[in-house]
């Protein structure tokens, strides 16, 4: 590996702006606030528009995966926008490690920066499989602790907002409420510190607040889940505002939470030990982290159940149990086994209609996405999956047309179910 990278030094900490590409609005806004409170100057990039992909295509090999083209395009587009002093910015983003080519984003980004004339801009890639040495960035335990809570809150907000959106009487009320909570949460984490007791109370408050929004639950919707490569699955820039498109077409959307992905990464560390006897120390840490997260997640899920308006996600243990008979858990590149596991999890919780998103030509998805659709459908004939490829030049018409087919089938299945229900009633 190239070791002569530009470091983010201690001096840069306060004076440089850390640019971070947005992937999941709630999670990332919270996280930004936490970083700000820790003395970093940060800016979440929420820019949109075709110039981002165009910039990416200019500086990255065009056959590279779409998320890399977008993220790098967004960074360089931001630097070139004139909004920042190129000598006063650093770039920070999250990447997966492992055998997928996505682990190369940092190298690609550096190459692109060099090509665009900004070789001096520091790049920090955060990953669960370790990061490079940047003296200016200290991932302290309190910081990480707060970050974990950002994800709990973010996942909860994601669930609540998605389950409100199609029914709200006042369009945008759920988003507005989520925005208010995001600001509040960050402040209170700073002021009061984090503890699970407080989090529990806060979560309960959030659930109640969302349940109290004026809603018309009788609206005719179909349940649609979204799985896929992590960036195009969540990022509106990556999936052409998929969530909005689905909601506009009368769907209630479910996104399996980000914590699932983190648990998947953590779980894989144990698997590496169990399968190959690699990484004994990490294995102990991983087991601890897994238990820590899943226990807390269950508590929050219980709160949702108790309140009664909303449907919580399944426990991760259940997700793992579901995939066992389909695929080996050693398959861990990219989203690996998590992808089909999330499809099964959705189906298991009653969400039978699924959009499987992936960047065009995504390698792990040949196996875990498209490759697993047949066995899943063989054994769950009522599951209705559509695979959609995202790419700089893939047209929206093509994508939307395929999603509409899935929705039409979803509706006809719902009608058929209603008819047979009536028949049984009579």
């Amino acid at each position: 590996m190239n070791t002569s990278y530009v470091r983010f030094t201690k001096e840069m900490k306060g004076s440089y702006t850390l640019l971070v590409p947005n992937m999941l609005p709630y999670h990332f806004k919270l996280l930004m606030q936490v970083l700000k409170n820790d003395g970093y100057s940060v800016d979440l990039l929420t820019t949109q528009g075709p110039q981002i992909a165009q910039t990416g295509l200019k500086y990255v090999h065009n056959d590279t995966c779409y998320p890399a083209i977008l993220v790098i395009g967004q960074f360089i587009d931001a630097i070139q926008s004139g909004k920042y002093d190129p000598h006063k910015v650093a770039l920070m983003y999250f990447q997966t490690g492992g055998g997928c080519r996505a682990s190369n984003y940092v190298s690609l980004l550096r190459k692109a920066l060099e090509k665009a004339g900004y070789p001096y801009v520091p790049v920090i890639a955060l990953s669960l499989s370790g990061i490079e040495h940047h003296p200016g960035l200290k991932l302290t335990v309190p910081l990480l602790h707060r970050a974990v809570y950002c994800f709990f809150y973010g996942d909860l907000l994601l669930t609540l907002v998605n389950q409100c959106k199609p029914y709200e009487l006042q369009r945008g009320s759920a988003e507005a409420l989520a925005g208010r909570f995001t600001r509040q949460l960050a402040e209170s984490m700073e002021k009061d510190g984090v503890s699970f007791k407080k989090t529990k109370a806060k979560c309960a408050e959030m659930i109640r607040a969302f349940a109290a929004l004026p809603m018309d639950r009788s609206r005719d919707t179909v349940q649609v889940g979204v799985v896929g490569e992590i960036y195009v699955k969540y990022s509106p820039l990556g999936n052409n505002n998929l969530e909005q498109f689905l909601v506009d077409n009368g769907a209630e959307v479910t996104f399996p939470g980000l914590m699932g992905f983190i648990l998947y990464c953590v779980y894989n560390m144990s698997m590496d030990y169990r399968l190959y006897r690699r990484g004994r120390v990490m294995h102990c840490f991983a087991d601890f982290a897994y238990r820590f997260i899943t226990t807390k997640q269950e508590v929050i899920n219980d709160l949702i159940r108790k309140e009664g308006t909303f449907r919580p996600s399944e426990s991760f243990d259940r997700t793992i149990e579901l995939i066992q008979s389909y695929m080996g858990q050693g398959c861990k590149m990219g989203e690996g086994w998590l992808l089909p596991a999330e499809m099964l999890e959705l189906a298991d919780s009653g969400v039978k209609n699924i959009v499987c998103t992936q960047p065009f030509g995504c390698l792990p998805n040949h196996i875990c996405g498209k490759g697993m659709m047949k066995p899943i459908k063989d054994r769950n004939p009522d599951v209705n999956i559509v695979a959609v490829d995202y790419d700089a030049s893939a047209s929206h018409v093509n994508q939307e047309n395929r999603i509409k087919l899935m929705l039409a089938n979803a509706r006809s299945a719902k009608r058929a179910a209603a008819v047979s229900e009536e028949g049984r009633g009579a």
Binding site: L108, K332, I367, K377
Partner: protein
Amino acid sequence: MGYCLGIDIGSTTVKFVLLKDGERVYEVYERHFSQVREKTAELLEEVGKITGKKEFLVALSGSAGMGVAEAAQIPFVQEVYATGEVVRALEPDASCAIELGGEDAKIIFFEGGLEERMNGSCAGGTGAFIDQMATLLNLSVEELDQLSQRCERIYPIASRCGVFAKTDIQPLLNQGARKEDIAASIYQAVVNQTIAGLAQGRRIRGKVLFLGGPLYYCTGLRQRFQETLGLDDEHAIFPEYARFCVALGAAMYARESGAYANANELIRRIRSAVSTVRDNRLPPLFQNNEEYRAFSERHAKAVVPKQKIAAYEGGAYLGIDCGSTTTKLALISEDCELLYTYYAPNQGNPIEIVREQLLEIYGQCGSRIKILGSAVTGYGEELIQNAFRVGRGVVETIAHYTAAAYFKPDVDFILDIGGQDIKCFRIKNHAIDSIFLNEACSSGCGSFLETFAKSMDYSIADFAKKGLFAKAPVNLGSRCTVFMNSSVKQSQKEGATVEDISAGLSISVIKNALYKVIRAGSAEELGKNVVVQGGTFYNDAVLRAFEMELNCEVVRPDIAGLMGAFGAALYAKKHPAATLLPLTELRAFTHKSVSAVCRGCTNHCHLTVNTFGDGRKFISGNQCERALGIKKTEGESIDLYEYKRGLLAALPRGEGGRRGRIGFPLALGMYELLPLWTGIFTALGFEVVVSKPSTRETYEKGQFTIPSDTACYPAKLMHGHIEELLEEGVPCIFYPCLTYNIDEHQSDNHYNCPVVAYYAELLQGNVEELKKVKFFYPYLNLDSPKELARELLGKLNEFFGGGFTKAEVREAVKQGFAAYDRYMEAIRQKGREALAQARRQHKRIMILSGRPYHIDPEICHGIDKLANSLGFAVVSEDSVCDLAGPGAPVKVLNQWTYHARLYRAANYAAQHKDTELVQMVSFGCGVDAITTDEVRAILESSGKYYTQLKIDEITNLGAVRIRLRSLLGALEERESVE
């Protein structure tokens, strides 16, 4: 009950069905030439003549209908869903329906769980594809269909997408294959695409319905489907409403959930249904007429002096450029003045065209002008050189450089966009420094613009002119034709004019060349003196787009399209040889071509044998010398690929082993690890059955079960190997999951790529027949023999129900690793011998690099032999990588075993003057998007050429040959300068 109207607006046609009390009273099927709203409104007027002012129920469907429906607020029904409804109502016992449309292909399975599928975004085996191919053959679709019914043989044509298929068809045409056979082969490609791209593991059987326009009109296509799927007339149904199925479905949907409106009201709504989304637009090419005038005047300066042939007396030199789609000739005087030029499509018969032209030239020259030298370049170089005894053959790159240097002696960058190819060369010290050629998948060049113009009912010249003054050119991105089609569709929906689309296409051609082929970021990277050429640059919009994109001024010669021929003529002048067939012989010249199959080896190359009047023969289509009757003498060619194949074939198989037979599919990761696994399993008492090296048939055998049509060809071949093993009747098949490969301690990590690592999971999930045998695909770790033995012991006992002892497995693993080490050592040893031998014989050395599985003859298509025949000694990356001295640190994460070797091999090439590296890249290999740039950087850092060969299922080596000859030409040119 009154009228119900269903409208289906597809990518190329509009279909209407009007029902009255369930009866079809009016139906129409017309091409809309992208004028979607106008055409729909026009047809609605016809409907109005029937319905008058009466209101009726209406619904819209179709891919181009989605936007219209939204803007005009008409209920929309998705087209596949609509088809499903029709079939369920009219053919309740159908088990499957296949519908081919203009750009979409759909399949619906009714039996065993309803399943509806559409082609992915990278699949062109549809109506638009057939149209494109007909254009290429210069036929109407009807003529194509008629020809196809008289076919005698089927050629393998890539079925992935239109551009690929074109690359296969063009050389067939140039070699003189019968159009009847090509027509049928095109249909077969569509059928294969449907099966491979859509069925994805589900067998098409039972009562099958064939729907959509192409299947309604093309009898030949129907025959191919019926034959391939083995359906008799009772099971293959071609209903009379095939063309109208979606419209009919929309009408039926209208009856249930349509909206009421009358014809006039609908016409008004559709006419005004222009959505005003214009965010994805680009600045105009010219702001005003003055700008255009200044631009034209500037470019009018780059001219070659002309001389009337009738007035000239003296010596002359002839250049011929026999390209893939066009043939060009140029005759120049002693002072390099142009005496005669010719430019025309070769219409699949370049020999006849050249013959006519030579007669014409001889006629005009009379006795005043004597042709002192001649040279030929381009795809047809060898054929034409042999046919007419042309003095010199010159590789395209050199011809183009020679011509460009005439206009600008200090040229440092040449971009040539021709009918099918994009060629770019960077010049340093008057020698070609690096070469970029487009890949088969991005051939969005001249012929692409032309096909598009035609599809919109314009001539290319008119179409291009329209773009010049477009107010807001659409942004179409920089990908392949198939993507482009849907992007255009989208922009039409958003109300883009033909002008905007024309300009947008010109800009996209440039972006494609700049960012995809050259990978340039700015003008400075190209150089100061840029010459652009090729027929496509006659198009002012393309030229302007290039200058705008790079913000610089370039030279476009007035003979932009003739530069190859002009360059060849200049070359002939430099290297005169008066050998050209004289007039008397030319008059008597005849030519016949027959196709044949070479039986020299198992490759079975399809040959075209050209016989000329005087008995001379020229054979093409061969991958090696054997077809030419040249006996290969052992020890003469240096080919590590052949050696590796031989080693693998000679591995002991443990015949008659006590534990029975176990099958190994020889594909992907199995290639390199075969010695390890055969070593282990034979030691355990198994008889190992290895599938044979792949052929085209292997692919076809397995294509039914491929779930992802964008996976690489090596992965797709795996399915055929599994089928083969199943046919062999083995009770058990082994292909392990290997996250990590062997650790050679040369990289940051030692992963396999995701496809190699986990393909077994995909096989288990998608190959139905695999459930009938035992499929053993444990997750294993090759880090150490001890670890492997521990895991294998557990997995073996679990899988086979016990019986394996610890000692036994340990010993077997030990033997396996020993066999693997012997294999790798043998390769390294042979590599050293090859290098020494090549150096003794003063041969150029080529490190033909790829992955271990690239030695498969169907994957590398005999490129190793081709390189041999060009005079290279061929070694593999794994045979020399350990000889490389330390290089500069790799700038990317070096974490895959196979790729680490690649970087080291590149370092070896960079460190040795007599060694070149050529990288084979399988189409769809995501990892190589990262390695290619890196390998290029390593090579170029020490002034080496980088040559990349993108390979897929295409068997034609024409493009590969040109790349390798360009490399050779550049090397020779550089050496002569030095």
